[in-house]
Amino acid sequence: MSALGKLLLRDLALLLPGGKRGGSLLPFLFFLAVAMLFPFAVGPDAPLLARTGGGVVWVAALLAAILPLDRLVAPDLELGIFDQLHLRGVSEEAAMAVRLLAHWLSFAPLLLLATLPAAALLGLEGETVRILLLGLLAGTPGLAALGLMIAAMTAGLRVGAALTGLLLIPMAVPILIFGAGALAQPEGAGLGLAGAISLLLVAATPFAAGAAIRAAREG
């Protein structure tokens, strides 16, 4: 098995819920808690919930995406894992590409699963749920990529979730607009554009995150 395959298995073992890295179900429970909170704030009016619920699920997904970021890269940077990989000829860019795949695999499928009970809580209908799931499927790679980029930039800094959130939220605006916009206009271009931005971010992230890791090492 190639080095990158082994690296992917290691990263998955760390990041998946129950993994050694405190990878946990907490972001998904947080996501459901936000979905539960919203009806309390606006009242149990079913048509209103059905009309705005898709957007609430998107906002909750964005907030939940911030939670795992401070443990995504920083512990490995501290342990010098990336230096070891570099010595063995695995570039920072390759390590970050693998980490991106592992992060998405440990985040997106569970988020899509958690969307189903959230959609039931908010009274969303079948067609809306379908577009919501497709939108999240198209948008989560981009969200994971942005998250990894920002996690790599802040890895060497002792900063809290407030800064990672402040960095992530403005960058994630286009994904949110196109992904959630598809709910209002299902036959429009929203899903395709969300996917396009995701692809762009997935392509750029290994380089940006790899450069950040290098910069953190060289000081």
Binding site: L157, V173, I177
Partner: protein
């Protein structure tokens, strides 16, 4: 480009350029604003409220110009490792954020009489608001990097990623706006009469000079901070060395 990599040469240039830029910028922008307030004719449809244009439009341009300055300095920093580029990027962030905030505030004040509300989710306003948050993120990241003594290339990466993202944000917001509400307000005036255009250009030039002056002043302050730290370190080393000599003698 590396002619000014030497901080001494840069400082000798910046020492007289900073006050020159600030004073001439203040004079030009002040004159244009005074003209706009006192002598420019009131606009046919919007009356006197249009006078805020002479402050609003230059700050909007400079808000975007500020991030362009960050992006260019970040690129120079990442590619050529120019020693002053990271200072230039750091120094551009706060004035850029201030101009963005002034642009949003004047836009809001202007929107009250013109549109009847303090805020509309208009495409350009909204992308300005997102830009303001990008500035806040950049400033916070740069401060954290300073505090921890981490590499200045980290904010440079964020500055470049942000520069790539800004056009995407802008067009996505316009797409979103056309989706959620019909365009109620469009900038109707394509041709501006010269009695507005000329003072507007003068004001823009004046504010650009102020921007440049503030950036230079902040760069000098950052350099002075670095030099003071180095001097303190040298002094501490020298003290301990002379004490060491004293003990042996």
């Amino acid at each position: 480009m590396h002619a000014f990599a030497n901080p001494k040469r840069f400082l000798s240039l910046a020492r007289w350029l900073t006050p020159l830029l600030l004073v001439s910028g203040l004079l030009l922008a002040g004159a244009a604003l005074l003209y706009g307030l006192l002598w420019a004719p009131a606009e046919r449809l919007q009356g006197d409220s249009v006078r805020i244009l002479f402050l609003h439009v230059p700050t909007a341009w400079l808000a975007m110009g500020g991030w362009s300055a960050i992006a260019i300095s970040s690129l120079v920093e990442l590619v050529w490792r120019h020693p002053l580029a990271s200072l230039a990027a750091r120094a551009s962030a706060v004035p850029g954020a201030v101009f963005t905030a002034i642009c949003l505030a004047t836009g809001s004040l202007w929107g009250r009489p013109a549109w009847g509300t303090w805020w509309v989710w208009d495409g350009r306003l909204t992308s300005m608001l997102v830009l303001l948050f990008l500035y806040f993120g950049y400033i916070a990241l740069a401060q954290a990097v300073d505090r921890e003594g981490a590499s200045s290339r980290i904010p440079a990466i964020f500055g470049l990623v942000g520069a790539i993202n800004i056009p995407i944000i802008h067009y996505s917001v316009i797409w979103w706006n056309s989706l959620h509400q019909p365009p109620s307000i469009t900038a109707g005036k394509s041709a501006m009469s010269p009695e507005f255009l000329i003072p507007l250009l003068v004001a823009t030039f004046g504010f650009s000079l102020i921007f440049g002056g503030v950036v230079l002043a902040r760069m000098r302050a950052l350099l002075a901070e670095i030099q003071a730290e180095a001097r303190l370190r040298r002094k501490a080393l020298g003290d301990s060395a002379s004490r060491g000599r004293g003990v042996t003698a």
